[in-house]
Amino acid sequence: MVHADSEKTGHWKEFTKGIFTLNPIFVIVLGLCPALAVSVSISNALGMGAAATFVLLGSNIVIAALMRFLDRIFPPDLVAQVQKIRIPIYIVIIASFVTIVDLIMHGFAPALYARLGIYVPLIVVNCIILGRAEAFAATSGVIAAILDALGMGLGFTLALLLLSAVREIIGAGKCYGYLVFGAGYQPVLIMTLAPGALLTCGLFMGLFRHMKAKRGKHEPV
């Protein structure tokens, strides 16, 4: 009974940590480059978040499954040796997976590809994928890897939504493509460019750290 309960809280925690305590953008600070480039509008953010979550899920599953399989067929000292070539293995798997997703989307879901196609190559350079493979999937079971990927993907998407909401409303006067302040609004163009992105991200980070500190759960930098 106790085992089942702690398994459930354990599983739930694997999922929620990606949203709050270990949010990829605001806490671990991974994948800022493509994130800031894409978060100019809410619809872009949704597209990138969906595509990145899908790739993260696939790569986490494949890498966790592969490493657990090697654990079983290789002697322990060889498993330790595999650490030397782990990065090339992860990168080859991630890059292949992204290419496969790209090809399948292009061939069998052209409407989706028209929406998300430009984000897919951006995901290969997204450090979140490699980061979670190295820090988590390599040493976890497949179920935990799935939950981690879903949580991180959701946290990434929510962070992108927050950033893009601010940048689209202030920087373009629109929300999801619809005008907010009417046609006469002079948009604050800097919000659509890199300085505005970094400003927004930094201010959000500060806000969340402040909220955390106030609740007494402050973590050292």
């Binding site: 100019v40 509008s41 872009n44 592969l66 090697l70 000292d77 060889l78 040796q81 595999v82 030397k84 070539i85 090339p88 293995i89 080859v92 798997i93 292949s96 290419t99 496969i100 090809l103 399948i104 292009h106 061939g107 069998f108 052209p110 590809y113 430009i118 920087g171 373009a172 629109k174 929300c175 999801y176 493509g177 619809y178 005008l179 907010v180 302040f181 009417g182 046609a183 948009p187 163009l189 659509t192 460019l193």
Partner: protein, 215 residues
């Protein structure tokens, strides 16, 4: 030494399996991707020469300087030539702009479609922007009524400016200027100029080369 061998074998096996998976997926999707691209091209062709019924295969029009313009001939239902769709490209602000230009046999622009661009979002990328006159508030309000607010099949307003102009009339105007021409995007002069120049160049080069060949 034995360990190095085993690691090498492992890495090789992983790469070979990946390669096999990639090759397999490529083969499986090749037909479907070709179909999608063909359909997208036909869609773009129909957009730049409205009223055309069918199009020729891609043809090449050689230019005096050694380059060539790819183009399609457009025919109406009755079989008469109603125009040409020309491919143009030019370096924009931070990406290469690829554009399809539709002209009638006299050289007046029937339509323009940007095929590829990766300009700055919010600035140069606005060449693909659709005009939105609805505010988010009227959208929310309309959700409670029965009105349909979304206008389907809209064309980007910047590209619509080219319709009806000839190559000679293609000059860049300031956003507030009046007159015949292309109003540049605020804060995106380079992109606006690059697109206008790409359209102008392709029309002028094509008409000149075609005229030279026919005379």
């Amino acid at each position: 030494m034995r360990d190095v061998l085993k690691l090498t074998v492992l890495l090789t096996v992983v790469c070979v399996l990946n390669g096999l998976a990639l090759g397999l997926v490529y083969e499986v999707t090749r037909g479907a991707i070709a179909q999608t691209s063909a359909r997208a091209l036909t869609g773009s062709l129909k957009l730049v020469i409205p009223g055309a019924d069918r199009f020729s295969e891609t043809k090449e029009c050689p230019l005096p300087d050694g380059r060539a313009i790819a183009y399609h001939e457009a025919y109406s239902k009755s079989g008469e030539l109603v125009g040409y769709a020309l491919a143009g490209e030019r370096q924009g602000y931070q990406s290469v702009l690829k554009v399809l230009v539709g002209i009638n046999p006299q050289g007046a622009i029937q339509g323009v479609k940007v095929l590829e661009q990766a300009e700055t979002p919010g600035l140069g990328a606005r060449i693909d922007e659709l005009q939105v006159n609805e505010t988010i508030w009227t959208l929310i309000a309309s959700l409670f009524k029965e009105k349909n607010v979304v206008a389907a099949n809209q064309r980007p307003w910047f590209q619509e400016q080219y319709r009806g102009l000839t190559a000679a009339e293609l000059k860049l105007l300031k956003p507030s200027q009046v007159g015949k021409g292309i109003h540049a995007l605020t804060g995106a002069t380079v992109t606006s100029r690059a697109l206008t120049q790409a359209v102008k160049d392709s029309i002028e080069a094509f008409l000149k080369a075609k005229g030279a060949r026919e005379s």
